[in-house]
Symmetry: C2
Subunit: 294 residues, 2 copies
Amino acid sequence: MKVVERIKEPIYEEMELFEKKFSKSMSSHISLLNRITHFIVNRKGKQMRPMFVFLVAKMMGNGKLNERSFRGAAVIELIHTATLVHDDVVDDSNERRGFFSINALWKNKIAVLVGDYLLSKGLLLSIENEDFDLLKIISIAVREMSQGELLQIEKARNLDITEDIYYDIIRQKTATLLAACCAMGAKSVFASKEEVEKMYSFGELLGMAFQIKDDLLDYSTNLKTGKPQFQDLKEGKITYPFFYAYKNANNKQKEILINSLGNKKVQTLKILELIEKLNGIKKTEELAKQFYKK
Amino acid sequence: MKVVERIKEPIYEEMELFEKKFSKSMSSHISLLNRITHFIVNRKGKQMRPMFVFLVAKMMGNGKLNERSFRGAAVIELIHTATLVHDDVVDDSNERRGFFSINALWKNKIAVLVGDYLLSKGLLLSIENEDFDLLKIISIAVREMSQGELLQIEKARNLDITEDIYYDIIRQKTATLLAACCAMGAKSVFASKEEVEKMYSFGELLGMAFQIKDDLLDYSTNLKTGKPQFQDLKEGKITYPFFYAYKNANNKQKEILINSLGNKKVQTLKILELIEKLNGIKKTEELAKQFYKK
């Protein structure tokens, strides 16, 4: 059994029910919108975010979920979907999860409006049910994520970043959303403030471990992941493998590394060899393990 | 004195104070973000939305505003600014209010992130101060606006739209936001449910009159407005002047009109002449007046 299946097992029924509720939460009287949201439901991914909301809610609520847990998961998924739809416009992507992107099928203008619509539906789902505490959790996550990405852009091509800044970036960019899911799960079943905070930290550490692993995959030659390789390097993003290798490099190696950054025609295997030689891969693996342990 | 100046007069001090609060509401610890939001504050427009919040709040609150009125105006302006920043990305615009657009100066990716950040700051300003009633007003407006634009796109190039659909489109697309501002002003000073609804309807009628006037300007040869002319026609958007003329046209004229729709190289003066001949301009002027009267 795959990892995701194993995680899903204790909340199988909840995930089934969630799909129905989630699909309903997007409905509109505009037929164009219904066609698009129907398409979005069909190309659904692993739904990691709702999963973590339910797992934590079930654990903290003595095996029982409530309607708040479902609404919390739906709000996170609605807002997350809205940002994915917008991201594809920005990156001019034609593909998402093996399907065409919304912008590829319906053009940019429509994709942005669909994103705005999903976002407002998420907000209203919380507001109309007075789940203000849950809405606060996700709003903070949106703020942190946009700040994290902007910090990464600000620091891109800037080689004097410190280990702390690297942690800040991955914390804000990725770990925040998983942290919000876990906190949301706890909050939805009225866990205490301390328990909610504990779950937030747990989600954050797990999210950081995920992101480090993801950064590592980008430097891997394993083609099973299905993701384009060396994307970070080509886009000039400094992640841990590069960061560590650079710190360890002599002047000549530093020059090679700098020239590879943001270079779309970079000789990837040569750079990988150099980063491996400078312990960038090994150290990143260790770091990921460290976060999982925590 | 210009109309805007005259409207602003009774709330001059409030608008001054608002600017300071608004600017502060966008601050971040990321320096890139602060540079961009500073730029946004400097290129500010007429600030019609805060103006209407304050005018209504002052009127309904016996001449007094409160902090809720300021926060309500800031939330509307933050969310509105976020959508403008995103719109410029979608339309690939290089300009906004005579300044460069955010995407022109900082690229698409950054512009989208800045939009997300402004949005989350707006949400948190409401949530942290427990202005949930105000947040609901603006969330409904966002939903209605995105649905209105999508309805317009769905009906674009569809010549059998009815007068009611035309009203629906301009109501959702534009009037909703002004209606939300007026309702927000009333709600912020704790006006009764009936008063809030009355103010909502007032803003809606005013917004519809504005939009009809705007649709008319697009068919005008007057260059004072500074807006690109015949944009709606070139983009294939059916607005009232075209709509009315088409209903009145004979088969040959209908063919000419259809061929002009969405045609970037259309002979604008010839089409304008035809629309004028078919009473499209005169009828639209009458319609705008009708809404102002209401």
